[in-house]
């Protein structure tokens, strides 16, 4: 087994099991504890956030948000991604476009600088029209990229999500809901959720949601979201 492969195996094991100890990892990958510790150090250098605790009952824990992936992309592929993100932003943006920008910045950084210049010049030749003119961009909502993990976890772990919501009239309420779907009607995004207190579905404009937090321990089941059924997703939405 390669050095790289072994480090990947360690990262994978940590991801899968949540926590582990150096000794257990050493046995798993067939290397000494010293080598595993060196690998952990290398992974940390590469940006993995690995918490560790000394003492009895301690161990290693990988921060899932720090999981990184390396992909080898051709210039054309990078370009296609650039266009997608640029078009999306011109069409009104997405709440998480900041993250996409970061991703693209990283990709660009990895490209040779002359290629980046070429791409930029090509992008200058792009005019993305009409859609950007139809909608009021100044009114477009944005979300802090830091909020994404909370939403992602709420969907995947089926945990309740608690947040403040300011409706079209400016009235602020506290909500605790079961996230069922995301509805994208550029430039606006809506969280479609079951509101147990009201025993009904509600649409929440994402940019009117603030301080979302996961409710630990409370899970729910997926419901059939009645799109196009008796609840129209397009009508009754505040834009």
């Amino acid at each position: 087994m390669n050095v790289r492969q072994r480090q990947d195996a360690i990262a994978r094991s940590l991801r899968r099991n949540g926590t582990s100890t150096v000794a257990a990892l050493a046995q798993e990958v067939g290397a000494s504890k010293r080598t595993v510790l060196r690998d952990i150090s290398a992974l940390r250098d590469e940006g993995f956030v690995i918490h560790s605790e000394a003492g009895r009952g301690g161990g290693l824990q990988l921060d899932p948000q720090s999981i990184q992936t390396t992909a080898r992309l051709s210039v054309s592929e990078v370009f296609a991604l650039l266009i997608s993100v640029a078009s999306m932003r011109a069409a009104g943006g997405i709440p998480f476009s900041g993250l996409a920008d970061v991703a693209l910045a990283k990709i660009e950084k990895a490209l040779p600088s002359d290629k980046v210049r070429d791409l930029r010049r090509f992008l200058d030749c792009l005019y993305i029209g009409e859609l950007a003119l139809q909608v009021d961009i100044s009114n477009m909502g944005t979300m802090e990229p830091e909020l994404l993990p909370a939403f992602e976890t709420a969907f995947l772990q089926r945990q309740h999500l608690r947040f403040q919501y300011r409706d079209a009239k400016g009235v602020v309420t506290q909500r605790e809901v079961e996230p069922q779907a995301m509805l994208i009607l550029p430039p606006l995004w809506y969280l479609v959720a079951w509101d147990p207190a009201r025993e009904d579905f509600r649409h929440f404009r994402m940019d009117r949601i603030s301080t979302p937090e996961l409710v630990e321990g409370v899970t729910f089941r997926r419901r059939h979201v009645p799109f196009g059924d008796h609840v129209s997703p397009v009508r009754n939405l505040s834009r």
Copy 2:
């Protein structure tokens, strides 16, 4: 210098100089010819297309289209890219969405499989509406990803582009134009080009363009594209 760093240096040198010889590269990176040959072999294994010719006057040549870049992305960033591309496709797609798909497939492949499953499940919670309903997707044009390099070069090198164009009435003409801009009005893309034969700007729907090829040796200058001026980009476009 690291093995990886040296291989990167070799790839960069080939990119910069177009062609080179093993001996020259060996001197440049301070290694033996044997080692450079081994590195070349490794680069080829990784997907770089490096043409070589034996004999006097021969040498190595890197296919610029095979230039690859590695970027380290967090899961959230991958997710943001996924959403961008998915939304773009729902909004009518882009001519090069195939390339974006390939790029994302590569990124996904690099992610651990459990994370991919999570992302897929999250994407299932996305409903991208309205735009997709407004436009006739069946009428949407697509372009072969292989055509992108020709367009990119035409823009960057300011070379004439020759292609067949089938207009709204089905009449096919042969064109040779100066590409000036791309106009994106989802779901359709237009090439805005100066047509020297007609001494005027013309808009070409990208999906009605076929067999584009670069005209070697003929370059042109950038013109001021009269958007929103006396030529409206939105009117007079066949949709």
